[in-house]
Structures are given as C-alpha cells and as structure tokens.
C-alpha cells in the first residue's frame, strides 16, 4: 500500500471530487475533498486528502478514466486529472500530490499548514 497525499486548490475541489468519485469505491467518495482548511505561504487555500492505495489504485489515478456504476461527471474528473502533478508543491491551478511518504513529510513537501490558528476553539 502506498500513501498518496494531495493538495487541491479551493477552485478545483468540485472537479477533484468527481475524479475521486470516478476512481473510488462508491458515491461517498464525492466527499474526498472537503473544506479548504490548509494554506500555503502566500495564503492560498487548499483542501487535502491523504490515503493509502494499492499499486493498481495509483495507476488508475493517472490512467484512462471510465464511468463508474454511479453518477459521475467524467468531464470534470478529466479536468482534475489534467491538473494532477506528482511530486509538486501546492500551487494554485494544479492538484499537487506527494506519493510514498508519511503525512507529515507530505505536508512539508506540499508546503501547506493549517489555516486555523492553534487551539482555535473549534469543537
């Protein structure tokens, strides 16, 4: 199993969730990217996803897309796949992914930190 951690710019979240839906295990995968709770050094906001995948899953991420058994916007999924960049730091306009490293190392390589202040009173 290989860990893949992705930083998705706020503007691409809907497309990225369609990609997750297309490649995932069910309709619930449309919730893969949630609120943009992370930010880069210049304040751009990102939604993050980090999960383990097998080799086949990793290959599917970059392979030809096909419609799953549930509703999915393949055009949006294709746009997200086109924006995917392996090994890149987070940046507006692309979905940066770090592969095969721990979540902490991936966050450092992506260059993102939580947008909320420490102990921000969230419950």
């Amino acid at each position: 199993m290989i860990r893949v951690t992705m930083a998705c710019p706020e503007a691409l979240v809907e497309d990225a969730n369609q990609l997750a839906l297309c490649l995932g295990y069910g309709p619930q995968d449309a919730q893969t990217f949630g609120a943009a709770l992370w930010q880069d050094a210049t304040g751009n906001r990102y939604a993050l996803s980090s999960a383990v995948q097998d080799e086949a899953g990793l290959a599917r991420l970059q392979g030809a897309l096909s419609a799953p058994a549930w509703d999915c916007d393949l055009a949006a999924a294709g746009r997200a796949q086109g924006a995917l960049r392996m090994g890149f730091a987070a940046a507006p306009g692309l979905i940066a992914a770090q592969v095969g490293v721990s979540p902490a190392a991936a966050l450092a390589a992506l260059g993102v930190t939580p947008a909320e202040p420490a102990d921000g009173g969230q419950v």
Binding site: G24, Q31, T32, A51, A104, D119, G120, Q122
Partner: protein, 266 residues
C-alpha cells in the same frame, strides 16, 4: 510530562476492563488491536487482514452494539497491528447512533482512550454532540500546549463548559491512557474527573445536577472534532482504543480501567 511511554497497547489484559466494570450498563469499547473486529470498508464487506490496510469500520465490544465507521475511502485511518494510525490530514471515524446514544438522558458518563500523538498539537480524540455539530455533550481534545481539554454540557440549553488540565501532560510519541468521568447526577466538587496514566489531571465541579437532555445525539467522532467536513482539528497519531459507558465509574474503577488499558496486570 505524565506521558511516560509505558508501552500501552490498549489490550484487555487480565485486569478488569470495561466489560467487568460496566457489566449490564450500556457501553461501547472500540479496540483497534482486535483485527477480527475491523473492516476495510464501512459496509463490513472486506475484513482487515494485514497491516497498512484502511479501517472503514470497527465493531465495538459491549452492550450498546456500537460501531465507528468512515464511508469516504480516503478518510479512513490505517491499521498498524496494535492501533489505527490517523494521518492528521483527513482521517476520522463516525460513531454510530448506538454509541452516541449512550450519552442520551444519562446520569453519568465514562470515556476512555489510549492514544499516542505524533506531535504535541491541537487535536480532537473523541466526542459526541447533541443537537448540532458545535454542541458537545462530551469532547476530549489535546491542545498545542500539551494540555488535555474536556468540553461538555449536560442540558442542551447549557453553554459549553471547557476545562483544561495543566500544560505539558501530553507528550509527542508517547502512549497515554485517559479515563474521564462526568457524574451529572451527583454533581459536587469532583463530578468531573480525568486521569492520565492513572494520575488525576482534572477535577472540577459540575453546576447543577440531573441527567443529560433526552435528545438524540446528532454526531460522534473518533480522531476528529465535531464540526467541519473534514473536521478540524483532527488526530495525528495512534489511537489504540476508545470507549464510552453510560455511568460515571468510581475512582477505584477508573484505576482498574487504566490498568486494563495499559495492558493488564496479573
């Protein structure tokens, strides 16, 4: 530091654990060391069979029929033998209604967990909310100062009461066994107590007495807070075990429970 790295594994051990302590009282005990109770998916179709696989559902021990599950594949923690590893990015589990409703119309509660934070940072370990996402009936967090924070309310109309331990009681990379009791019925100066590795770290009064509101608990989570999607904050690190019972255990029982959480004694 009170996190001494005692080699806790969240095992049931030989010491009386939740089953012996709570008996017929409604409780749920979620043990990530027990592979037979773990599933890779939230529909319980594919069992966990090897380390590194995702945990989509854990079936709890106890009379409540409790489960914790995550329907979104990318937001599942991974199983690492003795524990579930939460990535601090988007992993958390939802408590099902059976666990959440342990807190409904309850005269007391006991909450326990064994965890190892990857770093000392703001994180949420386990909590249940009442009528909405931001109204914790009970919520246990770690602060960036290394303090434990308990937030709770008895009645739905109450404001949240927040109580912190001293700073520095939680250490990065160390195992911590927490037992927390809320005695809503009795009240008094020690109605709220928290033990960390058997040491008392919080003792406080609860204003008013009586049961919690008779309202269905709307949300419960392990490894994440009660607001947000994904929640913020999240746990980054290990959770070996956690649970909830519909009774405030005594101080003596809390010590027995701690010993059980720490792996048991003869």
């Amino acid at each position: 530091m009170l996190g001494f790295g005692l080699g806790l594994r969240g095992g049931s051990g030989a010491s009386p654990g939740p089953a012996a302590i709570f008996g017929a009282t409604s409780y749920a005990d979620l043990m990530f060391a027990d592979m037979g109770r773990l599933w890779q998916d939230s529909a319980a179709a594919s069992p966990v069979t090897a380390q590194g696989q995702p945990v989509g559902l854990v079936s709890g021990l106890g009379s409540a029929g409790g489960q914790a599950l995550q329907a979104t594949a990318s937001q599942r923690p991974t199983w690492q033998g003795s524990h579930a590893e939460f990535d601090g990015v988007d992993d958390y589990l939802d408590l099902n209604a059976a666990v959440r409703d342990i807190t409904r119309n309850a005269s007391g509660l006991t909450l326990w967990t064994v965890f190892r934070p990857a770093s000392v940072a703001f994180m949420a370990l386990i909590g249940v909310s009442t009528t909405g996402a931001t109204t914790p009936r009970v919520l246990l967090q770690v602060l960036s100062t290394g303090a434990l924070r308990l937030s709770y309310r008895r009645e739905d109309g109450d404001g949240s009461t927040v109580v912190d331990s001293a700073s520095g009681v939680v250490g990065a990379g160390l195992d911590h066994a927490v037992v927390l009791t809320l005695d809503f019925a009795s009240g008094g100066s020690e109605a709220l107590r928290v033990w960390l590795n058997g040491m008392p770290v919080i003792s406080a009064a609860i204003s008013g007495t009586g049961n919690t509101s008779d309202t269905a608990a709307a949300r419960g989570r392990v490894g994440g807070s009660l607001s947000g999607a994904p929640p913020t904050p999240l746990t980054a690190g290990r959770i070996y075990r956690c649970g909830l019972a519909r009774r405030a255990c005594s101080a003596a029982e809390a010590q027995l429970l701690t010993t059980s959480l720490q792996g048991g004694i003869a």
